[in-house]
């Protein structure tokens, strides 16, 4: 009993001294709604459900968290939903790169990410450039040289024009002067099927997905879209090492909240995800999915949003996509 009291006092003293003190000013009193913009099975939906499961398992929050799928417009519906919940301290949302990029090209967008309250950045997802295992290209330079010889003849499968796949292509084409065709497929599965079936020549793919196809002998990785080599691909050069010094565009995911919530609530969520980030379950989740820890606090995120958006604006303009803001 006595030891417990001392322990409680020590904890209290520790809390008072730490930056987390502010977080004590707010405690959630009812279930927290976690808004995602994809349907069940989409990238952010899966991430949200993993986060909820880990927070639940490690008992990090006093209340339940439930995922709400607000699909539509590549994130615009979810953003509007969150923006209209002004001052609601029991709603948070997971954002992804779409939330930053899509308002740039859509006149229909009523809100941008700047209308929401940044909480934390959580993960950065690296990518690798893959070709079919029996393709003649051994290095990225081989591929680019082949593309230069036959302008427009080589093909890359990917998502929409604003997706990371196309951004990497635009940057590489600008840097090298080569030119190849980009074919959009709505589903990740179809993009991989197009490559494995030999219908396209190259794709930008997540390392976790590529890993299994490489192990089975179906794919080869030419370069990784990262600043430094991933543990899982120690022998594959980064873009810079392969001779293509272009900006690295990671897929980014993190947490935002409605506008107009109290500083205490922001601090609470910042602290909650700070504790999540330190759990072994979270670390294992990152390793299993080959994500990078991209933890960043609320205060720095405004600058990150601006830089990311400005970069994308330039890239999209060059890609010939109409930018509206």
């Amino acid at each position: 009993m006595k030891t417990r009291l001392i322990f409680t006092m020590m904890t209290a003293a520790f809390v008072a001294a730490s930056p987390a003190a502010l977080a004590q000013g707010f405690q959630p009193s009812k279930p927290i709604e976690v808004v995602v913009h994809t349907g069940p099975g989409g990238g952010n939906d899966v991430l949200a459900r993993a986060i909820v499961a880990i927070i639940d398992k490690e008992k990090l929050a006093p209340v339940r968290m439930q995922v709400a799928n607000k699909t539509g417009g590549g994130g615009l519906t979810a953003m509007a939903y969150v923006a209209e919940k002004k001052g609601d301290e029991h709603t948070i949302a997971l954002f992804s790169g779409n939330w930053l990029t899509n308002p740039l090209t859509r006149t229909e967008a009523k809100f941008t990410i700047k209308d929401l309250t940044p909480v934390v950045r959580l993960v950065l997802e690296p990518a690798v450039i893959a070709v079919k295992a029996d393709a003649p290209y051994k290095t990225l330079k081989d591929f680019i040289d082949a593309a230069k010889k036959n302008p427009g003849q080589l093909k890359q499968s990917g998502g929409s024009l604003t997706s990371r796949d196309n951004v990497v292509r635009q940057l590489l084409m600008k840097h090298s002067g080569a030119n190849w065709t980009y074919i959009s497929f709505p589903g990740g599965g179809e993009r991989i099927a197009a490559l494995l079936g030999g219908h396209v020549n190259m794709m930008v793919i997540e390392p976790q997905e590529a890993g299994e196809h490489i192990r089975a002998g179906g794919m080869r990785v030419l370069a990784q879209v990262t600043d430094k080599r991933l543990d899982s691909f120690p022998n594959v050069p980064t873009l810079k090492e392969a001779g293509f010094d272009v900006p690295i565009v990671p897929q980014v995911r993190g947490v935002v909240a409605p506008p107009g919530i109290s500083r205490e609530a922001v601090a609470y969520y910042e602290d909650l995800f700070g504790r999540l980030e330190k759990t072994a379950s979270w670390k294992k989740y990152l390793v299993d999915n080959q994500f990078e820890n991209g933890y960043m606090k609320s205060a720095e995120m405004g600058k990150f949003f601006d830089e990311f958006t400005n970069n994308m604006r330039g890239i999209l303009k060059e890609a010939g996509v109409k930018v509206v803001r």
Partner: protein
């Protein structure tokens, strides 16, 4: 031999009491969410995912797969009884199923749906077990030109779905194609027909149109006629509630057709069960001795699409398990579940985890039997639903429709859209336009346009890519054949008539 060993091992896994229990929970949940329109297997699996972290992956996948194929059994119930498609693939079941119910044969229709689902579901698992690896190569050989040809073949089915007037059917199909083009264009990132609305950026949800045009259109149409206190006749006696031998005999070919078409189309990641059900219905009608009776309540018209819909599950698991490639939102969430459980989905998953693969296959045999036992006794129970008088039943259909639509997107905008499409369905009924071609155009339009543009990007604008590839050429030829044959038949009929008049 390897297959027999694997399967025996699989049954040892699947018949463990613990796994049997989870299999039952899965198929029971699946049946329930299948019956309720709106909430689909993808959303249910996503919600249950956190629960499965404590389970071993084999039990978990047995349960989640049970939800997936169980939902396909339930989807036909509201389609047959109320003309409300419980999920997108049940739209075709409405065509003859609801007509059967109108003739007081709701019981036999539900029974045929359950039996066909059982046969096709089982055939799907047999094929999954025997031919999965070679078929995954076939799936990869399919690319945009082949998808375009497949969708063209599907669109040609409009001839078979047309009622009295082919022109009206084509007009309805064009409206469907137009609705399919709404939303963001994937290739240029431009918005089309969104009228400045954020809600319209993803286009119009298929469920909204299908429920509006079919269910609400039907209710509005019937309210005008207002003859009976009871909507549909329900005969007394258990025997009248189950399919007769004659029904089953008439469906012999439909069982086979549905099973095979469903599986083959299921294997292709870019197709889906709705297309499978339309195509198998079209084939059934094309080879039938009495094609003119389709749409008036023939049991084959229920058996073929329901079979295709169920065997599609076995097919869709082929690319998922052998390549780690999902073809639908439900298989995508299963894939995500594999990753969360620490399995590595991909080409080596079956070799790495034989327990999981064979356990799943065996559990699907067991699960299909459970579903049949679960569903057949429910047939008479559900058929009684039609005894509910009109003044209670119609508001109930409205309620189910609105809740179903709202539960898909959680947006009120979609419920307004439902009202718009309900009025459209009513107008089409009054003016004698068939609604199935509209749905056909809507289902195929998006994928067809995409496949065509992808093909042309692959060939730098050369149209010959569509006919220079053998699979694609054969399917396009069949599509043209389906379109042209009825014209010959008609011309022939005229000639015979003219000759008769001359002599």
């Amino acid at each position: 031999m390897e297959v027999i060993n694997g399967l025996l091992h699989g049954f040892a896994v699947a018949l463990e009491p613990f796994n049997l229990f989870w299999c039952f929970i899965g198929v029971l949940l699946g049946t329930l969410i299948g019956i309720l329109p709106g909430l689909g297997p993808a959303a249910t699996i996503a919600m249950l995912l956190p629960l499965t972290f404590q389970m071993n992956p084999t039990s978990a996948v047995i349960m989640l797969a049970g939800i997936y194929y169980g939902a396909k059994y339930g989807g036909s119930t509201t389609a047959i009884l109320l003309n409300v498609p419980g999920e997108s693939a049940s739209v075709v079941t409405c065509l003859d199923g609801y007509q059967m119910a109108k003739q007081g044969r709701a019981g036999p229709a539900l029974g045929i749906a359950a039996i066909s689902s059982f046969i096709a579901g089982t055939v799907g698992v047999v094929l999954l077990m025997l031919v999965a690896p070679p078929l995954s190569k076939f799936a990869l050989s399919f690319s945009s030109p082949e998808y375009f040809a497949l969708m063209s073949l599907g669109l040609a089915m409009v001839v078979l779905l047309a009622g009295k007037s082919l022109v009206k059917a084509l007009l309805a199909m064009l409206v469907g194609l137009w609705i399919a083009s709404m939303g963001i264009d994937l290739f240029s990132d431009a918005s089309r027909f969104t009228f400045g609305q954020t809600h319209m950026l993803d286009g119009v949800d298929f469920v909204v149109v299908a429920i509006g045009v079919f269910a609400l259109g039907e209710v509005l149409g019937n309210m005008e006629s207002r003859q009976h206190a009871q909507v549909l006749p329900v005969p007394k006696g258990l025997r009248n509630l189950l399919p007769t031998w004659a029904d089953l005999k008439a469906c012999r070919f439909a069982f086979l057709n549905g099973s095979l078409i469903g599986f083959v189309i299921g294997v292709l990641p870019g197709a889906g069960s709705t297309i499978a059900s339309f195509i198998s219905y079209g084939i059934e009608k094309a080879v039938s001795k009495h094609p003119e009776k389709f749409g008036t309540g023939v049991p084959e018209g229920v058996a073929a699409p329901e079979g295709a819909n169920n065997s599609e599950t076995g097919g869709a698991l082929v690319p998922l398990l052998t390549l780690g490639i999902p073809g639908s939102s439900t298989t995508a969430i299963l894939l995500a579940a594999f990753v969360l459980w620490g399995l590595k989905p991909g080409p080596l998953m079956i070799t790495d985890n034989p327990d999981l693969f064979w356990g799943l296959v065996a559990s699907m045999y067991v699960g299909n039997v459970m579903l049949l036992i679960l569903n057949l006794p429910l047939v008479p129970v559900f058929a009684q639903l039609l005894r509910v008088p009109v003044y209670a039943l119609y508001p109930m259909i409205f309620g189910i429709s609105i809740v179903g639509v709202y539960s898909v997107s959680g947006s009120l905008f979609d419920t307004w859209m439902l009202a718009v499409f309900g009025l459209l369905g009513y107008a089409m009924r009054r003016l004698d336009y068939p609604s199935a071609p509209l749905i056909l155009g809507l289902v195929l339009g998006d994928g067809m346009e995409r496949a065509l543009r992808q093909s042309l990007m692959m060939s730098s604008g050369d149209l010959s890519i569509l006919v220079s590839r053998p699979i694609s050429a054969v399917m396009l030829f069949l599509a043209v054949l389906i379109l042209v044959l009825p014209m010959f038949r008609k011309a022939n009929a005229w000639r015979v008539k003219a000759l008769e008049e001359q002599s």
